[in-house]
């Protein structure tokens, strides 16, 4: 009951969605849309488990005065604040006339989004500008032939995508300028490599999906 039934459910669901791809006749053509809605609803329930886990761990840190208990308080406070405004604005938006969404500009939820969430998210993303530089400094060294190819390709594409590259090769006719090399590397060499990887991924993914549907990979089921 604990293992055999779930594996059968997985098998039936897998086969159903493979067949649905080939049958346009209703209801099969609706499977993909139904699944996307079901998944969204299940995920909306599951996030309660995650949030409760985050709160539990933070509370334990505070009660047991662990090293970073101050930050646990901050996590709980910011979580509760945005939760309060999210529900408040959402509820108020539903019953307002004309109704508005909690995301609309001007709501307090949007204020948190614009002034707290977005700067944190954008700045964390922007740290990549520094990390990409330090990674290049460390990794692009001509250790062997493969590393040299990696280095040269990055070098030429980087130079080609910026006007400086064309200034250096200005004396060449238009189609042999640095930016055209970069475009050629991207359009031909990069396409070839991407295709080999994509085909490989497709085959690997089909094999993994099949192993899961046939119940050979049952790790996700856990113990009895």
């Amino acid at each position: 009951m604990k293992r055999e039934l779930p594996l059968t459910i997985a098998f039936i669901a897998g086969i159903a969605f493979i067949i649905a791809y080939f049958i346009p006749h209703p209801p099969f053509n609706r499977f993909e849309n139904w699944f996307s809605d079901w998944f969204a609803i299940i995920a909306a329930f599951a996030i309660w488990l995650g949030a409760l886990n985050l709160m539990k761990i933070s509370f334990i840190k505070i009660i047991r005065k662990k090293s970073d208990w101050l930050h646990a308080i901050l996590i709980i406070i910011s979580f509760v604040i945005i939760l309060f405004f999210g529900f408040y604005e959402g509820y108020r938006g539903l019953h307002a006339d004309p109704p508005f969404s909690f995301r609309d500009p001007g709501t307090s939820f949007d204020w948190i989004y614009v002034n707290v969430y977005t700067p944190l998210s954008a700045t964390m993303f922007a740290l990549l500008a520094f990390f990409v530089a330090s990674a290049s400094y460390r990794a692009f060294r001509a250790r062997n032939l493969e590393a040299t190819l990696l280095l040269l390709a990055a070098f030429f594409v980087m130079l080609g995508r910026v006007p400086v590259g064309d200034i250096i090769t200005g004396w060449l006719p238009m189609e042999y300028q640095m930016s055209q090399w970069a475009s050629w590397i991207m359009n031909v060499l990069n396409t070839a490599g991407q295709r080999a990887i994509m085909i490989g991924i497709a085959l690997g993914l089909v094999s993994t999906s099949l192993r899961i549907i046939l119940g050979l990979e049952r790790a996700y089921m856990g113990g009895d």
Binding site: A122, F130, D166
Partner: protein, 332 residues
């Protein structure tokens, strides 16, 4: 909290307060000052080069300082670099030029404020171009913040060319259908019917009462698709479903990191049909499109900062290799 950490925090706060209250607004280097700054930067590089050659290798934090400085200083300088048009950007522009006035363009904004520096300038240029050439724009978004970014592009177009404010009417010349969760399944369902996916637009007016959408039931009634994408869902999903399955001619604007993924789709298949007609790749793509639509703006000024930062990265790759060969020689 160690004293060193506190000291560093105090210095940072003081620096920014000084800038806030006492610095002239805006700061603009005269050409001579700009040249001096560039010379100083180059000298710093030469110094690092020599130290590495002598075997004293620099650490990550030196790289960070150089990148930070080279990104910031060009903001205050005043000269822009020549921009060369790449074929991918050219084909998007030509595809838009071929659309007769009154054609319907589906513009999907699939990015968030974090990727705005790269995609907003090209989105603004696209919106202004569409309004000025009488293209009817149907805006939607697969990312929650997409439609808001699209609204910024519309306001930027109105600010850039006030004449548009009265000739362009919401509902007749452009409409914003807002965000819809569901990633690629949104595109799938739009293949059957836009109305099923967007019963109302962003401002809750029902689909059928919008004049622009009167005869638009799905992709076959739209003449061109433009997608601004910073990840998943984005251009790959639009190509896989809207272009492959529903044959919608597609152009796209991508962050530079997403662009390589889209290149395979631009190869002309045997049937002569390109899965993706063209691509605006990153800031450079934005600057090229701005040049084509004759609207030099933020993308062009940012490009100078970016060129400096690029040069810094390239210099550090060279210095990194010098360090590697120096190390190898020491081992032998």
């Amino acid at each position: 909290m160690k004293v060193k950490e506190l000291l560093a925090a105090v210095i940072i706060v003081l620096f920014f307060l000084l800038c806030y209250f006492f610095s002239p607004k805006p700061v603009q280097f005269s050409p001579t000052v700009s040249v001096v700054v560039i010379i100083l930067l180059s000298l710093a590089f030469v110094y690092v080069f020599i130290r590495t050659f002598q075997g004293k290798f620099i650490g990550r934090r030196t790289v960070f300082v150089f990148v930070g400085v080279s990104l910031l200083l060009p903001f205050f300088m005043q000269f822009s670099l020549p921009v060369l048009i790449s074929p991918e950007v050219r084909s998007v522009y030509d595809a838009l030029e071929e659309l007769p006035p009154g054609s319907k363009v589906l513009a999907s904004f699939d990015y968030d404020p974090a990727s705005a520096p790269e995609l907003q300038p090209m989105a603004d240029a696209f919106m202004k171009y569409a309004f000025e050439h009488g293209l009817k724009v149907i805006i939607m978004g697969l990312w929650p913040q997409g439609p808001q970014q699209a609204d910024q592009s519309v306001q930027a177009a109105f600010a850039e060319n006030p004449g548009l404010r009265d000739s362009i009417k919401y509902g007749r010349d452009y409409v914003n259908l807002g965000f819809q969760a569901g990633n690629e399944f949104v595109i799938l369902r739009m293949g059957e019917s836009f109305k099923a996916m967007f019963p109302t637009d962003l401002y809750n007016t029902p689909y059928d009462s919008i004049p622009l959408l009167k005869n638009v039931s799905n992709f076959s009634n739209v003449d061109f698709g433009m997608n601004f994408s910073a990840g998943k869902p984005g251009t790959v999903e639009w190509v896989q479903i809207a272009s492959d399955r529903y044959k919608l001619p597609m152009g796209a604007g991508n962050t530079a990191v997403q662009a390589p993924m889209a290149y395979p789709y631009m190869k002309k298949g045997e049937s002569g049909r390109k899965q993706l007609i063209g691509l605006l790749g990153g800031m450079a793509g934005g600057a090229e499109f701005e040049k084509l639509t004759k609207k030099q703006a933020k993308a062009t000024t940012y490009l100078l900062s970016q060129s400096f930062a690029h040069m810094v990265v390239i210099m550090f790759i060279i210095i990194g290799n010098v360090a590697f060969f120096r190390e190898k020689k020491e081992k032998e």
